[in-house]
Structures are given as structure tokens and as C-alpha cells.
């Protein structure tokens, strides 16, 4: 394949990935990796390197839009980043020692899990019962604006949430993804942070976590500029347009269609990985 053709195909694919990723909240990596590995026969190491760049691009791009609302809890983000950055590097180290086919299988399983999480009805568990000693000590409790008034919320199960972030960070480093689905479990279900705060805070953390593993991947030679170029341009353009459409569109049906596509891709990846292992 010539450089020009390769660039055009990846550019279009990355655009769609960025668009759907921001519309469904699943992020770009979910499509970038299957597109490169299944569609274009790119080695998974390069696909992961390209995907981690797309994670940073979507995180920074959408965060710029989020911060206007002023609901990111920077303390929660910074506190949990201790877990996600250390574990992201652990993830990259693990990736160095296990066979690429296993990484592909794990990626497929995480895809299945993400599709399930995307369709699940979200329940807001947040309340203002400030019972956690650690949450008080680390000043994690906060407030966010609802109809012009400040609504207080309390953070729970700090240790459990921190542990979940360790898992999320490891998978983020291992697979080059944002691990959004796992972060949601940690923040919404375990720590009981309100949606509005958890979505933006998790997005804030994603970029920082991905930056830590991206630097290691760069040194390992997994970030190839020929792939990174169309991926970066495509994902950023797609995600920006997606964020604008998102404000005035209902995405329930799209999420259902996208979940089917993701499940299909997940099974393909698992099959590819397993046939490689065998």
C-alpha cells in the first residue's frame, strides 16, 4: 500500500472513530485499534501507540469544552491520578513481556465489557453523607452548580475507588485505551460521585494517564509518525464535530447500533488473538 492511500484510509477511519467515540462516550481507541489491526493488517504494537495518542487528543479536546461548565473536581482527579499514572506504566511494562496475541484477546474482552457498560442504564448514587474519613482528609467532597445553586456531594469508599483506578490505569497502559468504562465503575458506583462531576473528572484523568504511558510507548518505538499523523488529525476533527452534534442530539439509538458494531469487532479481535495463540 502506498503512503498516500494508507494516510487517506486511516484519516477517514480515525474521523469516524473520533465522531462515534465522542457521540457515544466510548472514546476513539475502541475503533482505532480494530481498524488498524483487522482492517489494515497493522501490528498491534503500532495500533496501541496510535490509539494512546487518540486518547490524549479526545481527552484534551473535549476537556476544553467541559471546563467551561466548571464541574471537574481537580482534587479527585489529581488524587486518583497517583493510582492511574503508576499503574499505566505497570501496564506498559506488562505489555512488553506478554505475547501480542494475549493483548488482542484482552482488548476484545474489554470491548465487550465497554459495549455492555455503554447500554446499561446509569444510576446516580450520589448523596451528601460525609461519612468517609479519607474523603474528608483528602478534601475530595465538593459541589457543582444545578440550576444556579451549588449542590454539595460527598465521596465514598476512597480505598475501593483508588484500587479500581489502579486496574483502569493498568489496562489503559496495556491496551492503549482510555479505560472510560472502568473509571465509570470506580467513580459512579464505588465512590458515588455525581455523573456530571465523574464524566468530566474521568476525562481529565484520561489525558494525564495516557500521557504517562504514551511517553514510554514513544521510547519503545510504538508511536510511528506515519500512522500517528492521520490518526491525530482524523480523531481531533471527528471528536470536535461529535461534541457539537452531541449537544442537540439524542444518542440512545446510535448507542445501540454502535454497541452491536463494538461487539462484532470484539469477537473478531478475540478470534484473531486466539488463532494467533494456538
Amino acid at each position: 500500500m502506498t503512503v498516500l492511500l494508507f494516510t487517506i484510509i486511516v484519516l477517514l477511519g480515525a474521523f469516524v472513530a473520533g465522531l462515534l467515540g465522542s457521540l457515544t462516550g466510548l472514546g476513539g481507541g475502541v475503533i482505532i485499534i480494530p481498524l488498524l489491526t483487522l482492517g489494515l493488517g497493522v501490528d498491534v504494537h503500532y495500533a496501541i501507540g496510535a490509539s494512546i495518542i487518540s486518547v490524549i487528543a479526545t481527552s484534551s479536546g473535549s476537556a476544553a469544552a467541559y471546563v467551561k461548565e466548571g464541574i471537574t473536581n481537580i482534587r479527585i482527579g489529581m488524587f486518583l491520578e497517583i493510582a492511574t499514572t503508576i499503574s499505566a506504566i505497570v501496564g506498559v511494562v506488562i505489555a512488553t513481556y506478554i505475547k501480542a496475541d494475549y493483548i488482542i484477546v484482552i482488548f476484545g474482552l474489554i470491548l465487550l465489557f465497554s459495549a455492555f457498560m455503554m447500554l446499561r442504564k446509569k444510576i446516580d448514587h450520589s448523596n451528601n453523607e460525609q461519612t468517609s474519613v479519607l474523603a474528608n482528609y483528602f478534601k475530595l467532597n465538593g459541589s457543582y452548580p444545578v440550576d444556579g445553586q451549588q449542590k454539595q456531594y460527598a465521596v465514598h469508599h476512597v480505598v475501593g475507588g483508588f484500587a479500581m483506578m489502579f486496574v483502569a490505569g493498568t489496562l489503559s497502559g496495556l491496551l492503549g485505551i482510555g479505560s472510560g468504562a472502568l473509571k465509570v465503575i470506580g467513580m459512579d458506583n464505588i465512590m458515588k460521585i455525581p455523573f456530571k462531576v465523574s464524566t468530566t473528572t474521568s476525562n481529565f484523568m484520561m489525558g494525564v494517564t495516557a500521557a504517562a504511558s504514551a511517553l514510554v510507548y514513544l521510547h519503545k518505538g510504538q508511536i510511528d509518525p506515519t500512522i500517528a499523523m492521520p490518526v491525530t488529525i482524523g480523531v481531533i476533527t471527528g471528536a470536535t464535530i461529535g461534541a457539537k452534534i452531541l449537544i442537540r442530539t439524542k444518542t440512545d439509538k446510535l448507542k445501540l447500533v454502535f454497541a452491536v458494531v463494538v461487539v462484532f469487532l470484539a469477537l473478531q479481535m478475540i478470534y484473531k488473538g486466539l488463532t494467533g495463540v494456538a
Binding site: 501490528d43 476537556a63 491520578e81 478534601k139 494525564v208 521510547h219 518505538g221
Partner: protein, 131 residues
Amino acid sequence: MSKQIKHYLGDRDVQLILGTLLRVGVLVSTAIVIIGGVVFLSTQTNQIVSFESFKPEQAKFSSVAEIFNGLKSVDGLAIIQFGVLLLIFTPIARVVFSIFSFLMEKDYMYVLIGIIVLCVIITSLYLDIAH
């Protein structure tokens, strides 16, 4: 109550600056990647590419020093990689900025937490894992 409101306004200013920082970071790095892409494609259009197997020994511009060296000779791929590097540094700049804002709030516990996170990232910059 008044303390909380003041706290919130301070955070809001910080977040507005953060938002601008992120937007500028993304815009500038994308622009550089596009420029690098144009330079690269204008010279290499018909070259055949294959990424079917991972060859780390052939990796071009896989360190900050190599990228800066490549920039001197106006290499398209080096320009792309420089844009990518800027993109990676955008969230890191966000951490640095947060540390300063915690310092201004005299919240030394979070200054320390921010520095820990920054140290982990800096470690990753020097971490060289043999493949």
C-alpha cells in the same frame, strides 16, 4: 458558606485558564502535525508502507533528542512527531498548572500530590524498557 463560594470562584478562574490551555495545546499540536504531514507526503507519496510486523529497531524519532535533531533537517516525520510530543505534553502542562493553582490556594497537601503525579510522568520519560 462564604468560604465555599470564594473557593468555587477561584476554581472557576483556574478552570477557564485550563480550558484555554488545553484548546491552544490541541490546536497548535494538530497544526504542527498537519504541516509535518504535508511536508512528508509531498516527498514520499508513492513509497510503499507496511506495518505488518513490529520493528522497534527501525523506529524513527522515538526520543525527544531524535525528534529535535530531525527538526533541524526539516524532516516531515520529525515535524509530525514534534506535534505528537506537544499533544502528549498538553495534559502534563495541565498537571503543572494545577500544582501552581494549589500553591496559590496554600493547599500544600495537593501541591505534594500534584508533584507525585508529575514525578511519575517524568519517570516515564526516562524509563527505557528493552524490548
